[in-house]
Point group: none
DNA sequence: AGACTTAAGGTCAGTATTAGTCAAAGAAAG
DNA sequence: CTTTCTTTGACTAATACTGACCTTAAGTCT
């Protein structure tokens, strides 16, 4: 119970808390050196603990002056359960399931009626223009669009 | 964000912003001297960051009195133009094309840096979890997310 | 006008500097 | 003992930087 990965996770979260901007930039090689581990260990920590779903945005660049930047967004409580709902969307989503989710979010004032309409229109447009895998695309789109709305407003 | 190329990029963009005409003229050798680097470094920055896809026009002349002129395309109605840009996204979109579009929209203040980060993160997440048809999904997602942003703010 | 000189900028391939991926081995938990 | 989580390292990929060599334009001198 407190693996190296946990320590690295805690360290990054400490850095995030003490930053004004809710984001930190670090060097993978430097980090690996500090914790005496291989660089890919850092990727492991990032991919298991700093996911979008948990409110983290990880960006990186290779090459000279490369970096890994981690941003954090606090989702307030009213949106927390909405974010949870998103998690429950699987790899496929049919029309009825989508309507249920949108209706629920509208009723709970997470999205506005206009946003509901917009999402419906956009999804219809995109899904209509492909032959196969409509339900897979719909799942991705709904998750993406709702996530953008939720994250934008918190 | 600390490579030399980044600094040169930022410097040029500052110059562009403070110019009335949306274009600046500079001397390659002088620039290289100011930044203590080889002249071809300037070409590197220009060819990686000031491309036509991102809305920049670079002209130059060799020989005595040679120069490099960089212009930034300005459109009267940037939202209409953005909508147009979206329409131009075909059924597939690779990473580079996406980055060009996002950089263009950010530079023209259609999306905020934070929205850029979010879009990048969301697309990465969604595209990463499928095997085939990444470019097709990316096209749909980018179109959908940008459309939502543009429609929400107009 | 033509040849030579000087003053730019362009190209490209090679080197350096990061970070990412993936699968296999090892450790911990159930 | 099986499953899941962690750790490792060999290979890969992206980005930045440099320098040698090339091209073009303008001036200068017969």
């Amino acid at each position: 119970m407190s693996s190296l990965a946990d320590h690295i996770e805690a360290y990054i979260k400490r850095m995030l808390r003490s930053s004004q901007t809710n984001s930190v930039e670090l060097s993978r090689a430097q980090m690996a050196d500090d914790f005496s581990c291989v660089p890919s260990q850092i990727n492991y920590v990032l991919s298991t603990r700093f996911t979008l779903e948990r409110g983290y945005i990880v960006e990186s660049r290779r090459g000279g002056g490369g970096y890994i930047r981690i941003g954090h967004v606090q989702v307030d409580d009213s949106y927390a359960h909405a974010a949870n709902l998103l998690k429950s969307i699987g790899s496929e989503l049919d029309e009825k399931q989508m309507e249920d989710i949108l209706a629920y979010l509208k009723d709970h004032h997470v999205i506005t009626p206009r946003q509901l309409q917009l999402i419906r229109g956009i999804v219809q447009q995109e899904v209509g223009s492909i032959g196969q895998g409509k339900n897979v695309l719909r799942a991705s789109l709904v998750r993406a669009l709702l996530f953008l709305i939720i994250e934008s407003e918190s």
